[in-house]
Amino acid sequence: MLYTLLCYNKEDVVWSWSREEDDAVMARLSIVHEKLVKEGKLGPSLRLLPTTAAATLRGPDLVIDGPFAETKEQLLGFYVIDVENLDAALDVARQLSAANPTSVYEVRPIALYVPDARPNAPTQMLKMY
């Protein structure tokens, strides 16, 4: 079974860490990462830039600065896209929104991207349902 683990924390605290503090946390995490890589369990992982860099697309035209703030909806999935800039990312979000009009898309730049480390990483769609 594939799982995604979503990490939550207080970003005003985390992004106030000194470089040394940040490095120390990343070093502790990397020990866990390496272990998972050896066990062939680690798929792609990533660290997001703070929500201050986020924009949210609601409906076809409404772009809101900032993260998705409502609690009425739940997180149902995510995409990783490789585009030139925020405008291009919003354009992709608009296409998705047109196909699935009630969904809201929070667009967050990625700060760190670690590709799939599994030796037999799937190259085809895995459907669990």
């Binding site: 207080k10 605290v13 470089r19 830039l49 703070p50 201050t52 924009a55 809101i64 600065d65």
Partner: protein, 414 residues
Amino acid sequence: MTDLAWINGALTAARPQAVGALLRYFRDMDRAEEAYQEACLRALKSWPQNGPPRDPTAWLILVGRNAALDGVRKTARDVALPADDTISDLDDVETPLAERLDGSHYRDDVLRLLFICCHPELPATQQVALALRIVSGLSVAQIARAFLVSDAAMEQRITRAKARIARADVPFETPGAVERSERLAAVAAMLYLVFNEGYSAGNDGTRAHLCDEAIRLARLLLRLFQTEPEIMGLTALMMLKQARFAARFDAEGEAIALEDQDRTRWDRKLISEGLALIDKAMRHNRPGPYQVQAAIDATHARAPTAAETDWVGIDGLYLALERMQPSPVITLNRAVAVAKLHGPAAALEMIAPLEPQLSGYFYYFGARGAFLLQLGRSQEAREAFDRAIALANTPVEAAQIRRYLDRLMVEKVS
């Protein structure tokens, strides 16, 4: 069990909002600060044992307010009861805290706190000192070190600033839209002052810390005011400049010019955040000076090597900046781009008319000397550098010019 470093981080992060809310209750800066400090002491006792509260800021506000009200009640046994409005609106006490701590309250509390610190009646040095003391919670000794003055002098500066604020009529009601945007502009200017205080300090760690502090406060402001392109621009500007910190000085602590910096030492994490923010700001089509300046630094950040810098883009951005804020200093900066595009002679011609206005400005003679040097006019270059060195404000600036003069000496000998 909660780790002390985590608690310190949480207390620092909560400070502006907590002190801002306590100031709303007590309408007195000293009392708000004392209440916050009392709350912190209690947090240091309680959190390690009981674990941190879910919302540390709300905890600190509640505990601080109750502690201060207890204090008021104790003294009230001897003295007449204080008027209701010195305790704050009775409403505040009655309304459940959770309800009061919504985003808009935080926003206006923090904005009010920052705005008080940059009150127009205060000179810039007092604004910065007060903000660092009240909002950032740096100790008087830390601020004194950052400004290279004695503790006593800094204590006095802060006391004077507080007295001035107390005399001035600081509005406590929620600001209207126009006033809010005026306050935001004043706060942005003050944050940039804090940043520049650190940025101009060279590689002195104590003062360089001010840059991180300014960025931290800008991030806070940005979270509260998410749709202000100039706040995005200011934050991006400071991030993109600060990203170069590790590359700006050599082992002897001397400044390295932008084009000679080792770009692998630039902080890519800060750069990506700064670029994301300026990208987001530009979508608003409401350009402003911070956004344009950030765009200039973004252009440098995007260039893989100095030789690949988009000088046409930079020239255009400086031109836009000149139109927004006509200033000989901006023209001088544009001349550097012009020199890259059209050669040093064109740049020299461009800055010549600026001399009467910039006759006391270190960078004018530094740039003039550099252009003359490129043109091989060594004698005139030396004269310009001599004037620059006489106008240098810091040892770092002087050393920068001395390197040029050394080069001229070498040329003369050979």
